[in-house]
C-alpha cells in the first residue's frame, strides 16, 4: 500500500525545473503530483509519476541525482476536520510527518494527500486499522 516517489536534487537556478520537465515530456512520462522544497542554495523536487522506472532512468542518464522514496497516499474527506482526523491518529501513535503535499486528482469525492512518514509501515498499519483509505501505487498512478 506504499507509493514510490522520485526526488531530484536541484540547485536554485533559473530554468533548471524546465530541464526536468523537458526530459519527462520527451519520454512521455506523466507527472501526477509534485512538490518542491527549497533552501537558499538548493531544492529537492519530489514527484509522483506514472512510470517511475522510466523516469528514474532518463533523469539519471541526463546527469541528475535521483532518489526513490516510499510515501503513502491517503484519501482525505473533503470536509472540515478531514485532515485533522488523520493527523490525530498519527499523533496518538507518535508517528512523525516528514513532509506532505496534495495530489492533483481526487479519488472519487475525496482529496488525496501524499505523506512521508518516519515510520511508513507503522503509519499504513494504523491508518488502515482506523478505516482511513490508503491508495496503492497502481491505482494512484492511473487516477
Amino acid at each position: 500500500m506504499k507509493v514510490e516517489q522520485i526526488s531530484i536534487f536541484m540547485e536554485n537556478k533559473a530554468g533548471r525545473l524546465a530541464e526536468v520537465t523537458a526530459i519527462l515530456k520527451e519520454s512521455a512520462v506523466n507527472i501526477r503530483a509534485l512538490s518542491l522544497a527549497d533552501t537558499a542554495d538548493f531544492g529537492v523536487l519530489r514527484m509522483i509519476v506514472d512510470d517511475t522506472v522510466l523516469a528514474d532512468r532518463v533523469l539519471k542518464d541526463a546527469g541528475f541525482t535521483v532518489g526513490k522514496t516510499e510515501v503513502v497516499a491517503v484519501e482525505v474527506t473533503d470536509s472540515p476536520g478531514g485532515l485533522h482526523d488523520i493527523l490525530e491518529i498519527l499523533r496518538e501513535k507518535n508517528i512523525n510527518v516528514e513532509y506532505m503535499y496534495a495530489f492533483v486528482q481526487q479519488s472519487g469525492d475525496k482529496a488525496v494527500m501524499i505523506f512521508r512518514f518516519d515510520d511508513v509501515d507503522g503509519a499504513v498499519t494504523h491508518l488502515s486499522a482506523r478505516g482511513i483509505p490508503v491508495v496503492g501505487g497502481k491505482r494512484l498512478y492511473t487516477l
Binding site: A37, D38, V44, T65, G67, E98
Partner: protein, 433 residues
C-alpha cells in the same frame, strides 16, 4: 631603531664567515643525531666535512614537507626529548600537522630575533603592543609575545577573535603597536567603524603584519584606514616562526632576512638548481643556530627574489621581496595554511567515494571566506531537506575540527563543477590581494 646593531650591520665577509662556521656546526650535529639526515646525506654521497664553503651547500639534499610528514611527530629532532621545552605545530597536507620543537636556547634566539623584527617595524621599549596574532600551536601569538617582552615593551596578549572587546581594549589601554594578520587588521578597522571608534584617534603608530600574503595596495589601505605605518613580517614554523625576515619601517622595500641565523637560497623549483642573484624562484632556508629542529635546505614553496642592494636603514642583511605566490596549491585562509588535499581527506571520511569538490575563496569585509562546494552523489542524496542540510553542517563541522577554519559548505549538482581535461578545478581564489 636597529635592535642588534652589531649583527644586523655586519660587513658581508664577516657575516659569511659566521654563516659558514654555524652551518658546519649544524651539519655536523644533524648528521650525528638525526638518522634521517645521516641516511639522506649518504644517499647523496655527501658528508658534513665536504662543505667547506657556502657555495658547497649546493651539494646538500633538499628537505621537503613530505620528509617532515614521514618523520612525524619528533623524528627530525636533533636533541633528546628532555631538552625540548616547547612544541608548535602547523597544519600539514594530510590532516597530520607539521610538528616543530625548541630548546630553551632556541626560545631565547627566537625572542631576540622577534625583538629585532618588532624594532625594525618601529616598536621600542615602552611601547604597548596589542598582539592579535592567535596564541596556541600557531607560532604567531607566542612568537610575537616573547619578542615584545625581550624588547622591553608592554604586551597585551589579546590573541585573535572577540573583536569588539579588542576595540574597547585599544581605546582604554592606548596600545601604540598593532601586531596581527593584515586581513584581521582590516576587520578590526571595520568593527571599530561600526562601534563609532575612529582608528586614527587611537594611539597606534606602527603595525607589524604577516602570516599571510598581502600587497602594496593593502598596505596603503591599512595605513590610510588606521593611521599607522605598516610593515610586512615573514616566517614559517618549519624554519622558526615569525621573525625570519621583516621589512624596516624606513624603507618598506623588501624584508631583511636575519642571515646570521638562516641562510636563504633561491632555486628553480623545476630543476632544483640555484638561481643567480636577483632571479625569481623558490625560497629555500637552512637554519644555522637552531638546536631542537634544524632544517637543512628546506623548500618553503614560497616564490620570491632576493635584493642585494644596500638599504637606507643601515642593515646589511639581504632583503627578500614580498611573497608573490606558491609552487604548490596551498592556500592561506585567515592565516591558516589549507591544502585542497586536507579538505579531500575530510570529505573522504563522510563518503567512501571521493566526492567532487571545489574551494572558493573570497574576501568579504576584509575577512577570508572559504566556500566548499561539494557535488551531490546518489550515495549522499536524501530527499529530505533536513538531511541534506545536516550533511552540509557535518562537513563544515569536520573541516572546523580537522583544519581549525570555518567554511561554508554548499551542495551542488553532479557535474556542475567545471573540469578541465577531465580534472576538476579545485581552487578558485577570488581574493584580490
Amino acid at each position: 631603531m636597529i635592535y642588534d646593531m652589531e649583527f644586523e650591520t655586519l660587513p658581508r665577509e664577516a657575516l659569511e664567515a659566521i654563516q659558514l662556521k654555524r652551518l658546519q656546526a649544524t651539519l655536523q650535529r644533524s648528521y650525528a643525531t638525526v638518522p634521517f639526515y645521516r641516511e639522506r646525506f649518504r644517499e647523496f654521497g655527501v658528508t658534513p666535512s665536504d662543505i667547506r664553503s657556502l657555495d658547497d651547500m649546493e651539494k646538500l639534499p633538499f628537505l621537503v614537507k613530505q620528509d617532515l610528514r614521514d618523520n612525524y611527530p619528533f623524528g627530525l629532532f636533533a636533541v633528546p626529548k628532555e631538552n625540548v621545552v616547547r612544541i608548535h605545530a602547523s597544519s600539514g597536507t594530510t590532516g597530520k600537522p607539521t610538528v616543530v620543537g625548541y630548546t630553551a636556547r632556541d626560545i631565547e634566539t627566537w625572542a631576540n630575533l622577534m625583538a629585532r623584527a618588532l624594532s625594525a617595524g618601529g616598536a621600542r621599549r615602552g611601547d604597548i603592543i596589542h598582539n592579535a596574532y592567535g596564541y596556541g600551536l600557531f607560532t604567531g601569538g607566542l612568537g610575537v609575545h616573547y619578542g615584545a617582552e625581550r624588547l622591553g615593551a608592554t604586551v597585551i596578549p589579546v590573541s585573535g577573535g572577540n573583536t569588539k572587546r579588542q576595540i574597547t581594549i585599544m581605546k582604554d589601554f592606548g596600545p601604540s603597536i598593532l601586531t596581527a594578520t593584515p586581513s584581521y587588521t582590516l576587520h578590526l578597522a571595520e568593527v571599530a567603524r561600526e562601534m563609532g571608534v575612529d582608528f586614527k584617534e587611537l594611539n597606534f603608530r606602527h603595525g607589524i603584519f604577516g602570516a599571510e600574503p598581502w600587497s602594496e595596495a593593502m598596505r596603503r589601505q591599512i595605513e590610510g584606514d588606521l593611521g599607522l605605518s605598516a610593515v610586512d613580517i615573514y616566517g614559517l614554523s618549519e624554519v622558526m616562526g615569525p621573525g625570519v625576515a621583516v621589512e624596516c619601517h624606513e624603507a618598506k622595500a623588501g624584508l631583511h632576512i636575519f642571515e646570521d641565523h638562516f641562510i636563504p637560497e633561491i632555486i628553480d623549483p623545476e630543476t632544483g638548481k640555484r638561481l643567480p642573484p636577483g632571479e625569481v624562484g623558490e625560497l629555500v632556508f637552512t637554519s644555522i643556530t637552531k638546536e631542537a629542529f634544524p632544517v637543512i635546505r628546506y623548500r618553503t614553496r614560497d616564490i620570491t627574489r632576493l635584493i642585494e642592494e644596500p638599504c637606507v636603514c643601515g642593515r646589511t642583511l639581504i632583503r627578500m621581496e614580498r611573497i608573490s605566490g606558491r609552487t604548490d596549491d596551498m592556500l592561506i585562509i585567515r592565516g591558516v595554511n589549507v591544502f585542497p588535499s586536507q579538505i579531500e581527506s575530510v570529505l573522504m571520511t563522510i563518503s567512501e567515494v571521493e566526492p567532487h569538490y571545489q574551494l572558493e575563496v573570497d574576501r568579504e569585509d576584509s575577512l577570508d571566506i572559504l566556500t566548499v562546494k561539494v557535488e551531490i552523489s546518489q550515495k549522499l542524496f536524501t530527499d529530505e531537506v533536513r538531511g541534506l542540510q545536516n550533511l552540509e553542517r557535518m562537513i563544515a563541522k569536520n573541516i572546523k575540527e580537522y583544519l581549525g577554519i570555518s567554511a561554508k559548505v554548499r551542495l551542488v549538482e553532479p557535474k556542475s563543477i567545471a573540469r578541465s581535461e577531465g580534472k576538476a578545478v579545485r581552487v578558485i581564489d577570488r581574493r584580490r590581494i
